[in-house]
Amino acid sequence: MLALKQLHDQESKNDKKRRLHSSCAGHFIKSHNSNLEQLKTIGRELAMGSQGGFGQSKEFLDLVKSIGEARSKSEEDRIVLREIETLKRRINEPDIPKRKMKEYIIRLVYIEMLGHDASFGYIHAVKMTHDDSVLLKRTGYLAVTLFLNEDHDLIILIVNTIQKDLRSDNYLVVCAALNACCKLINEETIPAVLQQVVELLGHQKEAVRKKAVMALHSFHHKSPSSVNHLISNFRKKLADNDPGVMGATLFPLYDLITIDVNPHKDLVASFVNILKQVAERRLPKTYDYHQTPAPFIQIKLLKILALLGSGDKKSSEQMYTVIGDIMRKSDTASNIGNAILYECICCISSIQPSPKLLETAADAIANFLKSDSHNLKYMGIDALGRLIRISPDIAEQHQLAVIDCLEDPDDTLKRKTFELLYKMTKSSNVEVIVDRMIDYMISINDNHYKTETASRCVELAEQFAPSNHWFIQTMNKVFQHAGDLVNPKVAHNLMRLIAEGFGEDDDTADSQLRLSAVESYLKIVDEPKLPSAFLQVICWVLGEYGTADGKYSASYISGKLCDVAEAHSTDDIVKGYAVTALMKVYCFERAAGRKTSLLPECQSLLEELSASHSSDLQQRAYEFRAILDLDTNAIENIMPLDASCEDIEIDKNLSFLDDYVQKSIEQGAEPYIPESERSGTLNISKIRNHNSYEHSTHSLRFEAYEVPKPVVPTNIPTTVTYPTDLVPVTVSEPSYQPSVQPTWPLVPVSDAGSGSVSGSSELKLRLDGVQKKWGKPTYSSGASSSASNFESNRTMVNGAPQPDTVISKPHAPRQSHVEVSEEKQKLAASLFGGTTSRSERKQSGGATGHSKVSRITNPGEDKVRPATVTAVVQPPPPDLLDLGEPVADTSGYSSTVDPFKQLEGLLDLSQDVNAASASASAAATTGATASNDPDLLSLYSGIDTVGNQNLTSMNGSVNPTKRTTSLTKGPNLKDALDKDALVRQMGVNPTSQNPNLFSDLLG
């Protein structure tokens, strides 16, 4: 910073700007009256005045200026569109002078930069690269590198020019061509220039050598194999006389080393040596940056050493001294010094650990964390996350700093801290960390990050859950707040967990778990705006286990379920789940021998759904009604209690139907032709069937059509669509009867394999294209699930509603053939695709196993958790406010502040405000009055007036939204103790090592 000031003192003497604007200075002072008309005049004057200075036509300057003055995006767009029209017309005129053309190209660049399409002019830019004049060539190259991506069709027109220019005698032309190489040459065109670029590694100009190296580096990115054979060239360049070339060579070497460390191990000594020399200031002074010797080269070298030393004791030992030296020498007051320190820490955490260096690194981290700068804190947290893998104890001394960062209003810092917590989670601290993460997750709006946080919560919960109750509660929270973002599989896992329980033998624990789940759901279910996925879980669990314990009456549960259906009347899937759950509750009641009658609201729900537009809901309703009329025995068979985990047998060949098929064929039915044959040999079958068709089409039929008969039994599934819940029930007659018929002969699964068969194919049909992925307790998601369902042969007894079912009674038999076999093919395809479901089950079984291991039942917890669950629904996320304020501020800004705000001196560091007279013009440029002066002063301190206002308003808005539990900063003893407790809970304990823990961070 100091250096820069000096720089400025020297350079403020020069001042083109002063020259430029001194004439306008007077106007600028007036401009503060914010008289718009006046402003515009001044703007024009300014543009005129600057014409000479900027060397462009007035037309172009006007364009830039009018865009600068545009008050809205739409105004800007209008201007640009007009400009595009003009350019389109002009650029195609014949005989445009080259200088004019050059300006057009630059105008195209400008348009493109503003986000508009300038593709109509690309070809002219390409043409310009062919020009002999270096000036135009350079413009052409600049334009094409900005316009074209490496896969653009026009690239092929440039390759030739590049080849030619790489051979040019003028090194500046070669440089321009090499620049273009980096952007434009793609995998296919690399061979066209590779040889030339390699030759340029020996060019006499260091600038060319450097760019050639970087071009090879970019080739490596695009096609690693293309430059792999050039290792020796790079190694040679490492010893180049020019430090710039040497520095550039580090990039391709880093790439190669990233791919494979081993062939480069011998370079360790060279790298260490170079690093040592750099650190000892052996490079020319010009490579110093803010008094630090070639920091960018140092950083790159440290990155390389980190790779080389990883897991290699011998190499690592060579590095210890130099890393230690650099850390000692680095200037912690400057940003660049800290950048080097951070890189050292990264390196130390990557190479074979050295206790001494680890200690130094820990100290450096401590300094980062203690710093006031958010940037350094951020780096500190990141570095801590790296070092923690090697020495887990290190977090201990920084616990409070970490907690502070967690509470920080800066979202970036907070996220980084959560990342750290995620890395240090273990079974002892999982509860706190996950709770925190969920709290945070609730508060963020960014879906990308919300999804990530949610999945991290789920991952940690599955991995470390201390108890099942906790797991369920945690999942509830995650679902409640990010239900639409989490993987549907998670919901499915949760349902299975509840259904299967954790222990093979411990039934009481299972029922306790279920009871607690039911209890928690009953509490949550009334919340508004629950995600659909979560509601489905709730309905399923309530239906399955709501009345199991006898704690809640059937009517209570039914009432809740009716409420759900009513409250979410637009969500057919949830409604389907609710109705099925109601049916289950009713059946269980009946099966238990209790007298039950439907609640009035349930009745009306049924009536409503019987007329629903959704055929699925309608069907469910009719089925429910059908069940109402059945006797207890039948019901018990249809809806066995707690049978969601039972397996059922499926006869995939449908062999039990053979008799029936045989009989049908004997009676004259057409044999079933698999769809593949039909579609594949369409013509043949047409010919084959020709006669019979002829018979029917060419002569009138006088006899009545015969009663439609199912030709092949497999069409049962398509035509008769039972809800999956009824799947074990089958119809003895393949029916075209309305499914409403209450007198279906119902055959329980146990005595009819056929039931499961029809169910199975039906299941397959329905699952296809159904959004609901985890209706069945054991199925995985998506289309593959339909297949895996069969694999796992799970029962569908208590399966979930399938929304897509169609009550399609009067299907033409042939048509149903087609459908069935299509489905069959899919089934086959997915069957042969693999046995995902089984393995998956095992996996997730393993996951539950995990939690089993660490099962600690904490009875008190059940009572506490639900409370937190509801408490969690705290709406206003802090960053919403963060965003809101400044946005408003910005708009206000742009509408009231003069467009010449843009004139603010970027680096106008005339720190000496008293010398204002000298810098009057500069001050005028910024349209400055006293209020703007701090702008000039604070350029480098990063504080600015506008920002300051923001800060205050932000602090105002953030504080109130802080959670009550949050630990505020300040020397409050209670807070400090709370914080300490929290820290301990997280598994880190303060030690006597740093007794000043509190004073450090709270002071």
Binding site: L7, E11, D15, K16, K17, S50, F54, G68, P97, K98, R99, V109, M113, G115, S133, V134, L135, L136, R138, T139, L142, L146, N149, E150, L172, N179, K183, K210, M214, A215, G244, T286, Y287, Y289, A294, P295, F296, I297, N335, I336, A339, N375, K377, Y378, P409, D410, T412, H448, L883, P886, S894, K901, Q902, E904, L906, T925, D944, V946, G947, M954
Partner: protein, 161 residues
């Protein structure tokens, strides 16, 4: 690796964009919209980094202009912050107390300078002097070429037509 460089004014106006990774025009507009929404609203004392779509965007404000660079997760943010500053210092040397106006009207020159500082998304030259020398060489060449273009080649072009 730096994926792109953005210069955005406090009012959200684009001053310079340079893309080192392929983005379509549509994606570019979206990126700019998203990032200016995120960055311009941040308070002054916060980190100069934001996490975005699995990348990190390092930004620094100079007067009313924000310099933003998008980097990979594993890159060193502090270093990138200094790369930004390095570029600004070079601009400052070139323009002499550079201001936003210089960049608005001379964006193509800013591009040329950027091309000498960064190449293929990496810092190619860490010596300010070297960059300045190269840019000056190009400029003098351009001056010469300009004169030439004005006289001889124009005549030739006319004659050959």
């Amino acid at each position: 690796m730096i994926h792109f460089v953005l210069l955005i004014s406090r009012q959200g106006k684009v001053r310079l964009t340079k893309w080192y990774s392929p983005y379509t025009q549509k994606e570019r507009s979206k990126v700019i919209r998203e990032l200016s929404g995120m960055i311009l609203t941040r308070g002054p004392k916060l980190c100069n980094f934001v996490e975005w779509r699995g990348f990190k965007v390092v930004y620094k404000r100079y007067a009313s202009l924000y310099f933003c660079m998008c980097i990979n997760q594993e890159d060193n943010e502090l270093e990138v912050l200094e790369i930004i500053h390095h570029y600004v210092e070079i601009l400052d040397r070139y323009f002499g107390s550079v201001c936003e106006l210089d960049l608005i009207f001379n964006f193509h020159k800013a591009y040329y300078i950027l091309d000498e500082v960064l190449i293929a998304g990496e810092l190619q030259e860490s010596s300010k002097k070297t960059v300045a020398r190269l840019v000056a060489a190009q400029d003098s060449l351009v001056e010469a070429a300009k004169e030439e273009a004005a006289s001889i080649s124009n005549i030739i072009a006319q004659a050959t037509k």
